[in-house]
């Protein structure tokens, strides 16, 4: 028989024998019914599942996710690295409310079983198992929730199925009948395909309803919906509970009470030297694996790709080794992105000044970039390797910096190899930048400690030794005029005189002006202001409005550093 739907889309008029029409009307539903006979067993099963609070929608969702993952080849055999077994749902999960004692609990748990892996012993801590959202099976995507929402919506829609079709299927369930009346209006709009789909859904609905004892009043789909809604609302409530701005429940203990002196950078370093590096052998092995890729990296760099390294552990040593072993004979630029005062400008300047031997200034980084691009295009013998440690550091992660770096890296004779560490590092790049960078990703998990990278950070627990601040202070001041240095000295001295005064607001501008005049350092308050602006630009001072509206000046450096600074200044003069 020639099927009317066998025309592959488009409107076409075709001769259809009447008997076929008849057959179509009479037979097809029959076929459908026959087909559906397989369905019941399945749907009963799924229904049971539903009762166990695992909706098959969820299962479906997971299945779909898996399909996507499989489609991307995630399940293909993996050579090394990348926990391929981890799905997105595990990494990006919901926040759940936590109890204060949770951490200590886990710690003691970990501590109690030395040398062994800790399997969470559920019998020991019953409250833990009771906390369902914590248990692993219930983690979900945010996406997942939305899709649940969508699906439950769709369920409602589906249940409003064509009246006609249901009649034909002769559904005995009075509930269905009553509902279908309400839905008859929309039945005409549904087309053939939907009907088929619906009919399977319907038959699926029917059987479990039969399987249930007659006394269970709520039909399956509402029950399921209810469960889902419950679950949904739970999730939603938990989310908002976790994110509510209400008081955070943590203990009030502070480090001070611990009678623990704060370590400074140097002692920290020394102490860490004492602690042996764990798993040195394994880490070495990992590094060797990565090092075997060096020649491949060179090849790919030369073929127009750029390379980005990711993974836990400092990749500094690895890149350094790459540099010393492969790049010795070529011009290369090493950028320490973790350095707190690095800017794109300084990168560009070091290219123009030191690589291209250009003397002169540029109006803007864009001009500078244009100049570099032009030079590199003109002279094809120029080659430059750029190594950037921590491309995602605070200073370089900005949109404009990334744009400039991306444009730089897109030059065929500039080879960029960079490392990223931040978990959200890939968010820095949009499609346009990505295509400019032309990355090849390499996972290089090294597990080596981030010694250099974290040493610049004003870390939470490390007392600022001030050596860094001191050097920058002297550095900046050395480039200033004698008068300017005098002005700064005045302020510093005044601040040191008041160091015991805890409520010292700073030196007010008027007083300061007075003092400067007396010392013959300025002749008008405008010159003083100009000078102060310069200080402020270099972050040497901070201004604050006092309660009386006057301006107060403060040097944001701790007292010991300031004393050191003054001593040093005295030596110099």
């Amino acid at each position: 028989m020639s099927q009317p739907e066998g025309k592959g889309g488009g409107l076409r008029v075709k001769f259809v024998p009447d008997e076929d029409v008849l057959k179509h009307i009479a037979d097809n539903p029959g076929i459908k019914v026959r087909k559906d006979k397989i369905q019941p067993t399945v749907s009963v099963k799924t229904f049971v599942k539903k009762l166990e609070n695992i909706s098959d929608d969820e299962a479906q969702e997971i299945l779909e996710e898996k399909k996507y993952v499989a489609a991307l080849g995630m399940c293909a055999q993996d050579s090394m690295g990348n926990g391929s077994s981890v799905s997105g749902g595990e990494v990006y999960s919901f926040q759940t409310p936590k109890r204060a004692s949770k951490m200590a609990e886990l710690a003691s748990e970990l501590a109690q079983t030395p040398g062994q892996s800790v399997a969470p012993d559920h019998s020991k801590c019953p409250e833990k198992t009771a906390k369902t959202p914590q248990s692993s099976s219930n983690y979900m995507f945010l996406m997942h929730v939305f899709s649940l929402l969508l699906q439950s919506k769709r369920k409602e829609f589906v249940s409003t199925t064509p009246y006609r079709l249901r009649k034909r299927l002769a559904a005995p369930d009075p509930y269905l009948e009553s509902e279908s009346e309400y839905s008859a209006s929309c039945s005409e709009e549904e087309d053939e395909e939907d009907q088929k789909e619906v009919s399977t859904v319907l038959s699926g609905q029917k059987t479990p309803a039969k399987a249930m004892t007659a006394s269970t009043p709520p039909p399956r789909n509402t029950l399921a919906k209810k469960i889902k809604e419950n679950k949904m609302s739970n999730l939603v409530e938990e989310y908002f509970e976790a994110h509510s701005s209400s008081k955070v429940l943590t203990s009030d203990r502070t480090l001070q009470k611990l009678r623990k002196r704060r370590l400074d950078q140097q002692t920290l370093h020394d102490l860490l030297k004492k602690a042996p590096l764990a798993y040195a052998a394994e880490i070495k092995e990992l590094n060797q694996q990565h090092e075997s890729l060096f020649s491949k990296w060179m090849l790919q760099l030369h073929l127009g790709f750029n390379i980005v390294l990711y993974g836990l552990g400092s990749k500094r040593d690895l890149l350094e080794k790459f540099r010393t072993s492969v790049l010795q004979d070529s011009v290369h630029l090493v950028v320490n992105g973790y350095f707190p005062s690095i800017t794109v400008r300084s990168i560009l300047s070091s290219i123009t000044e030191e690589v291209l031997d250009h003397i002169g200034t540029f109006r803007s980084p864009l001009d500078q970039l244009e100049f570099i691009i032009k030079r590199f295009k003109e002279d094809s013998s120029l080659e430059l390797y750029v190594l950037i440690h921590n491309l995602d550091s605070q200073m370089l992660r900005g949109e404009r910096s990334q744009q400039i770096l991306a444009q730089l890296s897109s030059l065929p004779s500039i080879y960029l190899i960079a490392s990223v560490d931040h978990i959200n590092a890939p968010l820095m790049w949009d499609q346009a930048k990505l295509s400019l960078y032309n990355w090849l990703w390499y996972e290089t998990t090294t597990f080596s400690p981030y010694v250099e990278e974290t040493s610049y950070e004003n870390s939470l627990l490390v007392q600022q030794s001030g050596s860094l601040a001191l050097s920058s202070l002297t550095h900046v001041l050395r480039s200033l005029t004698l008068n300017a240095r005098g002005i700064f000295r005045l302020l510093a001295q005044y601040q040191l005189e008041n160091k015991d005064n805890t409520s010292y607001p700073g030196l007010s501008f008027q007083d300061f002006y007075q003092q400067c005049r007396e010392a013959f350092l300025v002749n008008s308050d405008l010159t003083l202001r100009a000078q102060l602006t310069e200080f402020r630009d270099h972050k040497l001072i901070r201004t604050k409005r006092g309660a009386d509206g006057a301006e107060y000046l403060l040097i944001p450096v701790d007292d010991s550093t300031l004393t050191d600074f003054l001593e040093k200044e005295d030596e110099d003069v």
Partner: protein
């Protein structure tokens, strides 16, 4: 933070060859140069081909644009003074170019577009990007810079100082632009008649100035509005044409610009080819052809296509992935020297070293082949290199023939399946290709159902399909399919005959029907039912028999020629199959790597002490893992003291029970230091940040816990 390292000038000239990096693996140091050269030449060939494809695909679009540009300023050209023209010419002719979301590809399109325009319409083209134009001033600056520079490019160097001065001195304003334009056009008019003639063959006397806004959506509204309003004021003196590059939909123009501004534009819409079609052409020309010896395996192709479909719709990225495949293949497979045109390959086979012969013997597909041979042949294959080479040549030839046939039959099958309802084997030929590469396609359910459906095709469809198949086979040069063509043609004539025979019968049927039209519905039903009964019991008609025959014939073709490639001997030489490499490098998941490293360090550090199961980790794990694990148990804020204490509890327990006896809340300095390091590492990784909400607390930056 930046350090430049320059080698001593002596060394500097020893510029390294890329070749050197190619084969630094110990096992296959030979032939690397040849491999590299082969790889490069193949890639260059493919690159040229892709560029050619791109050009061909864009030709239509560019032709339309060019004719639009010619039209747009014809009034200006003729210097007409009619009122209507004057009214109309207040509007800026604008071409809205809808390019689709694959932003990555746009650059290439614009580059070739400006090239085309430069050759055909006007030397004055400015390409503007939103990121360069945060304000109207920057826009004008950029515009003038580009226009005046391009003038230099066109003309000789003598004017350079003049232009240079003007660029620096003249204020960036519309009037200076107009002045510049007048001087430029006048100059070409009067001063250099010779030049004019040469240029006027390509350009007009006063060519329009084309300004291309590459990414219209990202321009700030203010800048756009100002620019349009200003330039529409001067449109009489300054024949401007705008081209908007649009990634989303043309509606964006109206949502960006108020009516008063958009009414100043005379917009014509141009639509570029969708990137999906572009991709199909690329796949068609690069993969479904025997022209290029290099092939992609099923998984690899799937990964590439999925990256395209799920992530960016970018053909450029697809090609980039393809390039990576080529490089990887030639880098990792020592036998890839044979992955070249058949003639060369045969020559190269003769000069294979013993080592390479051993490599061939190690190939799984070749071993399978050997096992299928008689025993004395087996010995010869495994021991005598010269005999092996002979066989290899033959096998390579077979492989080549297989590819040629494969492509033809695949196209043929695609013609069939794409005419079926619901496309059980996929709408696109690439899906069919993947299915055929994956396993024996005739064993799949989809194939079965598509055959079923093909058996129900009506005649006209069937005939057209057959005709297309014949065309496909005829277009090939090989002799292989002469018989097939004949057979198909025979089918066609049979159908033709049937039709002749059928028409006579048809007349009678219709007349019969005519009669029945006049009876009532009940009778009609009854007779129809009777008719049906009789039809059912009746044997198959001639047409149906023929249809079965055709389908069976196609089926036999498929079984013969669409054998999956990995069943073929020596397929390893030309097929790249390591999909995991591709995914790792192109579609990496840094967050997952971090997650694995923190939660399951054993994955990387193969030490028995780290082995654990389930969601837990060993307490001997690296510090950062323990600290991470502990922090997962906290809410938004984490008390550092608690954290430190918990950490020290764990660490002390590992180090032995002797230490923890006395220390109550005094923590060892070393442990403290280790804790500090781990915490600052977590901060660097972006899991926590310092918080001022409460003393000695840090804030978590991630959700949930695992």
């Amino acid at each position: 933070g930046c350090f430049v390292f320059k080698p001593s000038p002596k060394k500097r000239r020893v510029s390294q060859k890329t070749v050197n990096h190619f084969g630094e693996r110990k096992d296959d140091s030979e032939d690397t140069e040849l491999r590299y050269v082969t790889c490069q030449s193949l890639w260059n060939e493919i690159k040229l081909e892709t560029e050619q494809i791109q050009e061909d695909l864009n030709k239509q679009l560019f032709d339309n644009l060019v004719s639009f540009l010619r039209r747009s300023h014809s009034e200006f050209q003729e210097k007409t003074t009619e009122w209507t023209c004057q009214m109309k010419s207040r509007e800026i002719p604008t071409a809205a170019l809808v390019l689709g979301v694959n932003v990555t590809d746009h650059d290439l399109t614009f580059r070739s577009l400006s090239e085309v325009l430069q050759n055909n319409i006007t030397p004055y083209i400015a390409l503007l990007e939103a990121k360069d134009c945060p304000g109207i001033k920057n826009l004008m600056q950029k515009l003038m810079g580009q226009l005046m520079n391009c003038y230099i490019d066109v003309d000789s160097l003598e004017d350079e100082d003049y232009v240079q001065v003007s660029q620096n001195r003249i204020r960036c304003s519309m009037s200076s632009l107009i002045n510049w334009y007048e001087s430029v056009t006048k100059k070409t008019d009067s001063e250099t008649p010779r030049k004019r003639r040469s240029s006027s063959s390509r350009h007009w006397q006063s060519p329009p100035v084309v300004v291309i806004l590459k990414d219209m959506e990202s321009f700030t509204t203010k800048v756009l509005q100002d620019f349009i309003v200003i330039s529409s004021q001067h449109i009489r003196e300054f024949p401007l044409v705008l081209i908007f590059g649009i990634a989303t939909s043309p509606m964006i123009i109206h949502s960006l610009l108020p009516h008063s501004v958009s009414s100043l534009l005379c917009i014509e819409l141009f639509q570029s080819l969708s990137s999906k079609e572009h991709l199909s052409t690329i796949i068609d020309k690069l993969l479904l052809t025997a022209r290029f010896p290099f092939k992609l395996g099923e998984k690899v192709l799937q990964v590439l296509i999925n990256i395209f479909l799920y992530h960016d719709f970018s053909v450029q990225n697809f090609i980039k992935g393809f390039q990576l495949c080529i490089v990887e293949h030639f880098y990792s497979q020592p036998l890839s020297i044979l992955c070249c045109q058949l003639v060369d390959a045969k020559k190269r086979v003769n000069s294979l070293s013993h080592n390479q012969c051993e490599n061939i013997r190690r190939l799984p597909s070749f071993r399978r082949y050997v096992e299928s041979q008689a025993s004395e042949k087996q010995i010869a294959l495994l021991t005598t290199d010269s005999y092996l080479k002979e066989i290899i040549q033959k096998l390579l030839e077979d492989l080549q023939v297989y590819h040629e046939n494969y492509v033809l039959v695949l196209r043929c099958l695609h013609v069939f399946t794409s005419s079926l309802p619901k496309y059980p084997l996929g709408k696109q030929i690439r899906e069919l290709h993947c299915a055929c590469l994956e396993n024996q396609v005739w064993e799949t359910e989809e194939y079965e159902s598509s055959l079923q459906l093909a058996r129900m095709l009506n005649k006209s469809d069937l005939v057209t399909v057959l005709q297309q198949c014949v065309e496909i086979f005829v277009s090939s040069s090989g002799k292989e399919f002469d018989k097939t063509i004949e057979k198909l043609k025979e089918f066609l004539t049979q159908f033709q005959k049937l039709e002749d025979a059928f028409q006579e019968r048809d007349v009678s049927v219709s007349s019969q029907k005519e009669l029945q039209k006049k009876t009532d519905l009940y009778h009609l039903q009854k007779t129809l039912l009777e008719l049906k009964e009789s039809r059912r019991s009746k044997k198959l008609t001639k047409f149906e028999m023929l249809r079965f025959e055709v389908v069976d014939y196609i089926d036999s073709l498929v079984r013969n020629y669409l054998v999956p490639a990995d069943r073929k001997t020596l397929h390893e030489i030309v097929y790249f199959n390591t999909a995991s490499v591709l995914r790792e490098h192109l579609n990496a998941a840094p967050r997952i790597a971090l997650h694995t490293a923190l939660n399951n360090p054993y994955w990387y550090l193969k030490n028995q002490a780290l082995k654990s199961d389930g969601g837990s980790i060993s307490n001997k794990a690296p510090d950062i893992c323990i600290v991470y694990k502990l922090h997962l148990e906290c809410g938004r804020l984490i008390n550092l003291v608690d954290w430190l204490e918990a950490f020290s509890t764990v660490v002390m327990a590992v180090e032995g029970p002797n230490a923890d006896a006395a220390s109550s809340d005094q923590v060892d300095d070393v442990i403290h230091a280790r804790f500090i390091r781990a915490v600052s590492e977590l901060e660097l990784l972006g899991f926590i940040k310092p918080s001022k909400q409460k003393t000695d607390h840090v804030a978590r930056l991630t959700w949930g816990g695992c």
